[in-house]
């Protein structure tokens, strides 16, 4: 037994190792920066563009990187696509590796894994002299204006999107009736803000009654179970379902199908492809898009404009250093425009990069 198992053990070990290796054979392409140039005076051809998101198996984040590619092509460069599998340590390692190379004309458009991951990235970029744009996550007490290489931070107003779909839901059920709410992971800012938005919408629509609110942790599977339970609890009183993201909205749709209900309006946030299909089919009412491809392009565009000297950090107003970007309500009227999202070259012109600002983050 002992002896015969040796070769087999070696084989299993080797194949496991092979799998592990195959897993991390990520391509590290991208153009190398040329001669060192002073900050803000890079030759456009020397700029190195990097986009970093969690993973490409998420359609939204994949479209983000595609948008980055579109911008890179627009200025005759290529984007280095990086993913870190939602692993904070891996993100920091990738960033340190980037910053250990030639950083004078490095432009990074980064989605930090969580709020606490942003400060080390910012410090690193500041010390190395790279140009950094971050999106979605940053600690509230970390000020972009304290740094001159952290060019900008872009995020979205969750209260507003929660209210937008709340209003769309109220309209879809004719302004009165019972709704149930599926909340996200309760201790995240996104879940809190979006639910606050729903509460604002409820205040403006007094005939809409919130029958119940439960969390389904942003998960499609959990939303299915929770919605089934709430449907047995409230029965025909449920006229609409408000979900804090599209995954939960899709889980709710499955629960409605299994319960044989087709008279309930469902809204979500994020504009994932399945939700857009559901809106086209008429089974879902509305969702909100942050426009992933634009996010992927705009971060690189801002960094590129500063690196090449077309914009100067000193000239960017404080209100454009940390700002809310515009988000779009998608319903059956305009869903066709968002099914195949494209970037608009005009959005990435240096005098236009802040055109979608909805104001500074308060």
């Amino acid at each position: 037994m002992k002896l015969t198992s040796r070769p087999a053990a070696a084989l299993v070990g080797l194949s496991l190792a092979a799998m592990a290796l195959a897993g991390c054979s990520e391509e590290a392409g991208g153009g190398g920066g040329g001669d060192a140039s002073a900050s803000g005076a890079c030759d456009p051809a020397d700029v190195k563009l990097v986009g970093q998101v969690r993973n490409e198996s998420n359609p939204y984040e994949a479209s983000w990187l595609d948008g980055g590619d579109a911008f890179a092509e627009q200025v005759g460069l290529t984007q280095e696509r990086l993913t870190y599998d939602a692993d904070s340590t891996k993100q920091q390692e990738q960033v340190s590796q980037l910053l250990a190379g030639d950083t004078d004309c490095l432009v990074m458009n980064i989605l930090p894994n969580g709020d606490s991951d942003t400060p080390p990235i910012v410090e690193g970029a500041q010390d190395a002299g790279a140009y950094l744009v971050t999106q979605w996550n940053k600690p509230a007490d970390l000020n972009v204006t304290d740094y001159d290489h952290w060019v900008s931070h872009i995020t979205y107003n969750g209260v507003e999107s929660g209210k937008q779909i709340g209003d769309a839901l109220a309209e879809a059920i004719g302004g009165s009736g019972g709704i149930i709410a599926l909340q996200g992971i309760l201790d995240t800012g996104a879940a809190k803000d979006r639910f606050a938005g729903l509460e604002e919408s409820l205040a403006a629509n007094p005939d809409v009654e919130l029958l119940d609110d439960q969390t389904a942790n942003f998960s499609r599977d959990e939303a299915l179970a929770v919605t089934k339970t709430l449907l047995t609890k409230h029965g025909d009183d449920v006229k609409g379902i408000w979900a804090a993201n599209d995954d939960m909205a899709l889980g709710a749709l499955a629960a409605l199908e299994q319960a044989g209900r087709d008279d309930v309006a469902v809204v979500g946030i994020d504009a994932v492809p399945d939700a857009l299909t559901a809106i086209q089919d008429g089974t879902m009412t509305a969702t909100v898009s942050s426009d992933g491809p634009w996010q992927g392009g705009i971060g690189l565009a801002i960094g590129y404009c500063v690196a090449t000297g077309e914009l100067s950090v000193d000239d960017i107003g404080d209100e454009d250093r940390a700002w809310f970007a515009e988000q779009f309500l998608i319903n059956s009227d305009n869903v066709a425009d968002f099914s195949a999202p494209e970037t608009d070259e005009a959005d990435f012109e240096c005098d236009n990069v802040f055109s979608r600002s909805q104001g500074a983050i308060s």
Partner: protein
């Protein structure tokens, strides 16, 4: 892998099992289930409806199948954390093999079978790593879960596969005697698991390995093949559970099995299957599944705020386990 069969055949002629009768030891979890049911029925008129009982059974289906698999592993005294990865791989595989929006496959039942076989192969990999490389099951199964998620992510390739296969979709929607087909599948799995546990050599040895592996080995039984077989069987159950999630959501998700590993272990332990092995079984675990599902459902029906639910649920689970193990407290003192 089945080589040692013939030398055991002779011994098997003796009395098949020791009689125990219904002791207080096994009665704890069912009593807890009845108590929870009565309490919620008293508190909420919505909880005690036929519709809600159907709902609890339908919701319990996937967890019940996962728990069937994990129970065999726990009986052996090992642990299995591979459910999320194996379920993810089988969910994506089945979504790509039956009629779907990504390719022209339309394999129907064969597609489901292939997905379950893939899952069984991954389970087998856990078992082999445990037996041949002598890596603790905690680590091998965690590794296999990562492998499964990796396989799933590769097959996922950036576009969500949505299924259009009428049969698989129908499993979640169509009903027989008031329960969804999926619920009947879960009932079938519990029965099958019980029969395997009670009457097959695999099931008896799984118990024996958990109880006293050295004694079994000294009496001339080669335990290694049985360990691999148990992990393979568990993998097949997880695979079927992944297929069931795909049926419910009409889409193959990489995260199909997220959280099911610990939910299933919790259900098994609440039902009276000990983590130290050698005690409990499929029926115990099934009671545990119903207990957990009724609890989750009841807290929503009664209207406990979502901010409180996680904590309240945890407390009740700890209390239920404590109540269930009171009759065997002395035995549990060895459990650290």
């Amino acid at each position: 892998m089945t080589s040692p069969v013939e030398d055991v055949e002779v011994v098997a002629a003796r009395r098949p099992q020791p009689r125990r009768g219904v002791s207080l030891r096994d009665a704890g979890p069912p009593i807890a289930l009845v108590v929870i049911f009565l309490v919620f029925s008293a508190l909420s008129s919505d909880f005690r409806t036929i519709g809600n009982v159907q709902n609890i059974m339908d919701t319990a289906a996937v967890l019940a199948v996962v728990t069937c698999g994990i129970t065999f592993v726990l009986m052996m005294g090992s642990i299995d954390l591979s459910a999320p990865g194996i379920m993810g791989a089988s969910a994506i595989a089945v979504a790509l093999l039956v009629a779907n929006n990504r390719n022209d496959n339309d394999l129907g039942l064969i597609g489901i079978l292939v997905a379950v076989l893939l899952a069984a192969a991954l389970g087998c990999l856990s078992g082999l790593a445990l037996v041949l490389l002598k890596v603790p099951s905690f680590m091998t199964t965690l590794g296999v879960s990562a492998v499964g998620l990796g396989v799933a992510t590769l097959m996922f390739a950036g576009v969500q596969p949505n299924i259009s296969d009428a049969m698989l979709k129908g499993w979640a929607v169509e009903r027989f005697l008031g329960f969804a087909y999926l619920t009947w599948i879960a009932v079938g799995c519990v029965l099958l698991g019980y029969l395997v546990q009670r009457y097959s050599r695999l099931g008896r040895y799984a118990f024996a390995i958990g109880g006293a592996e050295e004694v079994l080995a000294l009496s001339g039984v080669k335990v290694a093949p049985y360990k691999v077989a148990v992990f393979t069987l568990a993998g097949a159950f997880y695979g079927l559970a992944g297929v069931m999630v795909t049926s419910q959501l009409s889409a193959g998700l990489v995260q199909a099995g997220k959280g099911y590993d610990f939910a299933a272990i919790t259900a098994a332990v609440v039902g009276g299957t000990l983590l130290t092995g050698g005690r409990g079984g499929i029926l115990h675990s099934a009671v545990g599944v119903l207990l957990i599902t009724a609890l989750t459902n009841g807290l929503v029906q009664v209207g406990v705020s979502p901010y409180w639910q996680g904590g309240v649920q945890g407390l009740i689970v700890v209390a239920a386990v404590a109540a269930a193990v009171v009759p065997q407290r002395r035995r549990n003192q060895v459990t650290k």
